[in-house]
Amino acid sequence: MAASGVGVKDECINAFQDLKLGRKLKYIIYKISDNFKEVVVEKTGEEGEYDDFIASLPENECRYAVYDFNYTNEEGGKRTKIVFYTWSPDTARIKMKMVYAATKEAIKKKLDGIYVEVQCTDLAEASYETVLEKVNRK
């Protein structure tokens, strides 16, 4: 497929392992380095409500993110699933949107254990309710 060829730094996978296995992290925000060479970890959060996590997504720039999503399923059981986000607001520069979209497969492939993937261009698409619906549907 047409891809960007942008690489994924090892720290991205390590942080993901910390979240998945170590349960040390609640969320990770990834960005593509300013020279468009590789994906790096921008920020991690050890705890934090969903809203805090969403607030870490910049208004006019793209990011990838992983969140350890807690929810109660339709039968009333408590569940935790890993959700992968591509955050690409319409207001971001076209070059940024292009590179993030063309690199997504590369990073997603390296993060083993993603339950559901969300592609969002505005806050409504990233909202807890929208994601919950996606998680439940799966």
Binding site: A3, G5, V6, F36, D90
Partner: protein, 447 residues
């Protein structure tokens, strides 16, 4: 494996569309060369070799556009006319050819003429010093892409080559790796599902009509409603101002031996401007009684005929939504079979339904409009409206760049960005790889 180091020399990016060809440098924001995808040549009678005695009047038209360079192809002695200024300029027996048919390359000689023009006259470079990035339509065949690879390496001796699907480039440049790309250009309209950067071939639905067909229909409708004949610019010598609705007073040039392809092109130019200026799509389901109450808009045709147009403004683009009901059959021409034609919303709906159930919601919420023929005001609202009726309960979201240049050149732009990335060098097919493996490499590398 040796790879081409993409950082040092800029790549050339070409997107040949059915009406416009765009070309320019990788990494730039907009294409340097934008020319109609038509090549004009004089159909010569024997013994009339140098038939191009351009008369004084045509040179006048020429001066308006400074893009009047002439491309002389080396292998044929025949003079080629390329570029807005050249092909809009009337010449006896000049025929216009387009390399594409239904989105696929069919006339390779014409394609080469266009590429020659782009390299020699447009960008003024030697293609053998650069890598070349081209776009292709999503239903392109293996045969054609291999031939394209061959052409790039054998004839133009490019350093490296890559071909990407236009739908994927459009999706990426809207920030999506998954989405339904509705592309309506001059010649075709297609709905193409893209998932994680791959085109889902089974979901592609296309229809072989687009903006040019709408232009023809617009001419037929206006001519029959107002009982006038629309005269393209090349025939008009002089005109006088007349009041609205009064027959035009103008003087025609004789213009003998005009080819049908040239006449059609000139007519489409007139109607294209007409559509751009006054047509719009009804935001709500088409109801003539309501739409009749909308304000009229004035338009003046090249021969001076002018009038205020009302319902026609909506009727013409409505063909894209309800082709079966709104296509008009022109007298004295072969009837158009409309039974199997679909509206744009139906194309989207059917295309999504051909994909796996799991990804349908994702496609519905990521519909991307692209192509010049989607620029009608009101189209987005209308599609929202129609799709929520066709697929009740699903969340429909339509994305269309508000910037018309982005929608017209979105594919080119996507190619420009992608090929400019330093990291993209791993993907290029290098000259060496081509020499080792042959043209079949394109199928593996650029799938």
């Amino acid at each position: 494996m040796t790879t081409y180091g993409g950082d040092e020399i800029s790549a050339i990016v070409i997107d040949i569309g059915s009406s416009l060809s765009k070309a320019g440098w990788s990494g730039e924001d907009s294409p340097k060369v934008i020319v109609p995808s038509y090549v004009g040549s004089i159909i010569e009678d024997e013994g009339n070799k140098n038939s191009t005695t351009i008369n004084a009047d045509t040179t006048l038209i020429n001066d308006v556009n400074n893009n009047n360079s002439i491309n002389t192809s080396s292998k044929k002695n025949n003079k080629k006319y390329i570029g807005d200024g050249q092909i809009s300029c009337w010449r006896e027996n000049m025929e216009l050819k387009n390399p594409l048919k239904n989105g696929l390359i069919e006339d390779w000689d014409t394609l080469e003429d266009l590429w020659d023009y782009i390299f020699n006259e447009g960008l003024m470079i030697d293609p053998s010093e650069h890598p070349l990035f081209v776009s292709e339509c999503s239903w392109n065949t293996r045969n054609i892409r291999e031939k394209l690879t061959e052409l790039a390496f054998e004839k133009y001796q490019v350093q490296a080559f890559y071909v990407a699907k236009d739908a994927v480039l459009s999706a990426f440049s809207s920030g999506r790796s998954t989405g339904l790309i509705l592309d309506s250009g001059g010649g075709t309209t297609s709905a193409v599902p893209v998932s994680d950067g791959y085109v889902l071939k089974k979901g592609i639905i296309k229809q072989n009509f687009g903006g040019d067909f709408l232009s023809e229909q617009a001419a037929a409708l206006i001519e029959s409603l107002y009982n006038i004949t629309i005269i393209p610019r090349y025939k008009i010598k002089s005109k006088e101002a007349v009041d609205a609705g009064i027959p035009a007073k103008f003087v025609e040039y004789p213009r003998p031996n005009t080819t049908p392809s040239f006449h059609q092109y000139a007519m489409n130019q007139v109607m294209h401007e007409f559509k751009e200026t006054i047509c719009q799509v009804s935001e709500n389901p088409y109801r003539e009684s309501i739409l009749k109450g909308r304000p009229l808009k004035c338009y003046e045709f090249p021969n001076g005929y002018n009038n205020s147009f009302g319902i026609e403004r909506f009727k013409i683009p409505e063909i894209m939504i309800q082709p079966r009901e709104f296509i008009i059959q022109k007298p004295n021409t072969e009837p158009i079979d409309t039974t199997n034609l679909l509206g744009i919303h139906e194309l989207i709906y059917r295309s999504i339904n051909l994909c796996d159930v799991d990804i349908r919601p994702n496609l519905y919420s990521n519909i991307v409009l692209t192509g010049g023929n989607t620029l009608f005001n009101g189209l987005m609202d209308r599609l929202n409206n129609e799709l929520s009726m066709l697929a009740p309960g699903t969340k429909v979201r339509i994305h269309a760049s508000g910037n018309s240049a982005e929608r017209k050149f979105g594919v080119w732009n996507g190619g420009s960005i992608l090929s400019s990335l330093g990291t993209f060098h791993q993907l290029w097919i290098s000259k060496k790889e081509y020499e080792e493996i042959g043209k079949s490499i394109v199928e593996k590398r650029c799938n």
